[in-house]
Symmetry: D2
Subunit: 344 residues, 4 copies
Amino acid sequence: MTRVAVFGATGYGGIELVRILLAHPEVEIGYVGGHTTVGENLADFYPHLAGAIDLTVGKIDVAAVAEGVDVMFFALPHAVGAALVAEALALGKQVIDFSADCRLKNLADYERYYEPHPHPELLEQAVYGLPELHREEITGTRLAAVPGCYPTGAILALAPACAEGLIEPDGLIVDSKSGVSGAGRSLSLTTHFTECNESVAAYKVAQHRHTPEMVQELSLLGAPVTLTFTPHLIPMNRGILSTCYGTLTREVSVDEAVALYREFYTGERFVRIHDAGKLPATKQVTGSNFCDIGLAIDADAGRLIAVSAIDNLVKGLSGAAVQCMNLMLGVPEETALTTYAVWP
Amino acid sequence: MTRVAVFGATGYGGIELVRILLAHPEVEIGYVGGHTTVGENLADFYPHLAGAIDLTVGKIDVAAVAEGVDVMFFALPHAVGAALVAEALALGKQVIDFSADCRLKNLADYERYYEPHPHPELLEQAVYGLPELHREEITGTRLAAVPGCYPTGAILALAPACAEGLIEPDGLIVDSKSGVSGAGRSLSLTTHFTECNESVAAYKVAQHRHTPEMVQELSLLGAPVTLTFTPHLIPMNRGILSTCYGTLTREVSVDEAVALYREFYTGERFVRIHDAGKLPATKQVTGSNFCDIGLAIDADAGRLIAVSAIDNLVKGLSGAAVQCMNLMLGVPEETALTTYAVWP
Amino acid sequence: MTRVAVFGATGYGGIELVRILLAHPEVEIGYVGGHTTVGENLADFYPHLAGAIDLTVGKIDVAAVAEGVDVMFFALPHAVGAALVAEALALGKQVIDFSADCRLKNLADYERYYEPHPHPELLEQAVYGLPELHREEITGTRLAAVPGCYPTGAILALAPACAEGLIEPDGLIVDSKSGVSGAGRSLSLTTHFTECNESVAAYKVAQHRHTPEMVQELSLLGAPVTLTFTPHLIPMNRGILSTCYGTLTREVSVDEAVALYREFYTGERFVRIHDAGKLPATKQVTGSNFCDIGLAIDADAGRLIAVSAIDNLVKGLSGAAVQCMNLMLGVPEETALTTYAVWP
Amino acid sequence: MTRVAVFGATGYGGIELVRILLAHPEVEIGYVGGHTTVGENLADFYPHLAGAIDLTVGKIDVAAVAEGVDVMFFALPHAVGAALVAEALALGKQVIDFSADCRLKNLADYERYYEPHPHPELLEQAVYGLPELHREEITGTRLAAVPGCYPTGAILALAPACAEGLIEPDGLIVDSKSGVSGAGRSLSLTTHFTECNESVAAYKVAQHRHTPEMVQELSLLGAPVTLTFTPHLIPMNRGILSTCYGTLTREVSVDEAVALYREFYTGERFVRIHDAGKLPATKQVTGSNFCDIGLAIDADAGRLIAVSAIDNLVKGLSGAAVQCMNLMLGVPEETALTTYAVWP
């Protein structure tokens, strides 16, 4: 059994990770740490897990925990966990980081969108934890950076088209619709029930921090891309639908596009490409690790429209983290990730 | 008092029209007609109007009703009402049509997206009922075609930029998010509560029937446009948010863009342009006749992003119909349309 | 024109009052006061009212405002506004208080459920602002206490049965389901979107502060009652459905019960009694001042089940406040309250 | 491996059963049958299961299927499946029936609430499939009747109090709040998104068909009960919260009541009793087989209030069916039922 520690266990990402790991036959949760909830029993705080786990939230103290665990998950806000990640690596642990601190290769990108990086050396060590594009690197790393939820859906939707030159690298548009859990459990007027229920709005248009991740990963597949990203908040708990637009480089039928995508994702357990004429709804992936993708062609305008659906807390966060961990540990990649959505 | 007839009163558009007209001091509802609900008391069917109106649903029979009414509203599916519209005009009535039958100027557009037109002569007679762009024509017409709900939001969001040459006419994208009431009261699996709740999906990508309306109206403002339109279904009752993308023809700040939009809409009672940095949520217009617009600039990508919010059943349908009627009758344009959204 | 001040204008009750008053032909809002929002423009804070009102939030200072206004509304938490109410009365103003400070006749009840009363003399002066039961007193008062939202629905549902001795006074049960706006705009984990969406729960079972109001008012109609009250939080913005149970004192058909209720509420503009076999949904009153009531009889168990639906922010709060104000000012009771629900 | 057939696989209950069985290590789904969906691939119809199962929906033909399967599940409407159940039993199969046909012991109860029973002999053979009350009988039966969703929550909430004489058998009240999936996938105006979203209503008050099940099972535990049952429809996908009221026979503290409930349910894997002061929300059981129960005492009124939360499609239907099957097959009762709710 591999013993793991989860730091930041009481946020939505952390608790979802705990839920997934509880079903993992090769892993035991040895420690859960938090900031404001130290001393609370995790199941008192999250009653859905009553009976599943009897762990008290402890401090976030890497050194004190290190001896008993092999893998450390850091589900902490950006910049907050960087020093801890560095410490864990120095202690020889395998690390999976949920924050943005280790995702970008270019320090300037990080510092433009976030702040001065507390540990810039991490950027070189880290692997971008999207197995569909970086499986080998993840398998060999000790530091995987879980991609942002929006980038996961957008990159998977556009990667085959970028890699195969089906669309121009310039002028990509990603218009995403996210459930509210993406904003976490911290209180804000934006996520107050009566403020976001029965309403839709865009936010952080053309300035969201997930933009440089999309640009980085899609540019790695071919020519450097330019991309406009617009996130929207939707009155539902989970799910991200990303509607992605690219200018076609040549005439193509939807069937051809579907075939190209299926070829690209051959063997990928968690990417499902719809038949021509079908498009995904977020409901079909809720609670699961799938990314479902549907394609359409606007022949008049010469455009590819690729639509992806993910669960932002599973494939968009904690499921991806477990997928990375499985690769890093050498256990089958899909372990603990084979559940399907609950419908309806 | 002007007496009006509402044909198709028991759909969502029809009943919303009835609700608005009940507050109109110059209008009396003389007749409500329906197909499957003949003989029912309207308020039994829609309990929110109990006590407000005591009218029994009658047949859809233009000639039989003509003597008693001055204005006829047709809230019927496309093609179904065209002969009735023609009949009402022949009887000298003023007509406001909710369907697509009278919106397009180009017969071929209609027949590409719909079917052979049963009364193509209506296309020439009709005025596109968007007062912000066609006020004078509406004032003088006897046949106003209420715009589609999606086109209303999209056209108002892009019109100033197209008219002033701020964006390229080519390559426009309209990504819209609609509440479920846009699909009407007819039952379908798509609008079954448990199927669309907690989910988001795109539909009719690059083939929705509202596309040619957008192209027609925006092309009238400058050069002919090309446009990709993607509608999405959102788990809420009302509202459409349209996120519209255009390639900038020149560098511009958000403040300049806001100023340009405010100049374009000077004096418009129902269009509110947000200050730079603010974007509309559909909640703020629910139940009202407003179209609220916010702007953003993606300087890196050279793009304008214009976001509009409307209530699809008010400004997107029945409110627009009353606005047209007011102009046609010569009463103040805002009569019966001055209510504000209920928050929250 | 009567000039009014609204203290606590930026909560949900206050802003809903502002919205209703904006449509009142005899009233002008002369002042809006708040605690944490002083200096903000009300419409910046609540974008749905942009263009409707251009008022800056001022301090809560009764004396400074007194000269310019005739009526003062206090939409403040209990205990916070009591001294201000007293001050306003001393200055000769007409006062409508939203809090619990003036609702109960029995000081011990207040102090059991709330805290030591800061101004117990108010209890004697105040009139319980439920016009259907206290119209004459309200007409002659200078201090109306707006009933709690739950009591409004429960009392109206049970009053005819209690007054006419149709049910035993002992053992009443009120099981209420409330939308989330009843909890206000203050942030809490309970009202965080992702915590209350897709879930239902009971809270404060058998200890909610609205219980003594129900007991007080129903006991005034006949024998002293005992009553169990269970509130529930429902994932919707507005509305309270109260399912009320009483043991029948005699056999009665639903038709007889309906007739008895209609007799009791003869002439009441805002109470609508459903025909036998029909029950109200909260949707049918959203945004309106109606209380809709449906009845059922469980003959096997000898029970009356009375179900009422109100909008908690209109008939349950701000609409009731305006209804009281109208009576106190001698203008028609329904002024500004004649709108119907928006459906769907 | 046990091979099973699922008849009625394309309803919500059937597909949820399929989802659960897919994770069952001892079971293989050998056949799925339906009425209107014959010839469709199940995963085309329910895209969340794409890749999980490659089965085409066949006819509902017991004899044709019998050879290849050991257990048959009938997820069909009442009366429709009775002859098939009889046929399956005659062929020596083990049967689990989702309908009401086999739940009631008293034919007159069935015929009062439903219709003349097509196979009354089934009533004697069948075991009421609530393992917490009938484990031994289920273990030995060949015909288990899955309890109704409402009865499951209500019976589990009241059983300890009835069995231990804590409450009077007369005058029980069950006030239940159900998500919309309980109404199934068949289209109706009641379950049209825009009609039930943002609204709450009671329905079938004092006449719902699940009432006699509650009476039957609770009466078996002590004295015959009388009971009023009021179901409500809540705008959410899943979950039933049942608020149950009984008159206390003696003074008792919440702590004592909690202890009594815990004693009663000792060893039950799927019933979780909350500590005094805590009440369940349906969210905490969504997608899981738990029934969570919280208790409150109204000392003034001498009442016990027991609140239970279940997922109507899992513990309230398909999870219960698998729990029964496990007992009937002699595999560990919790097999395939150990998942926890997804939060949020």
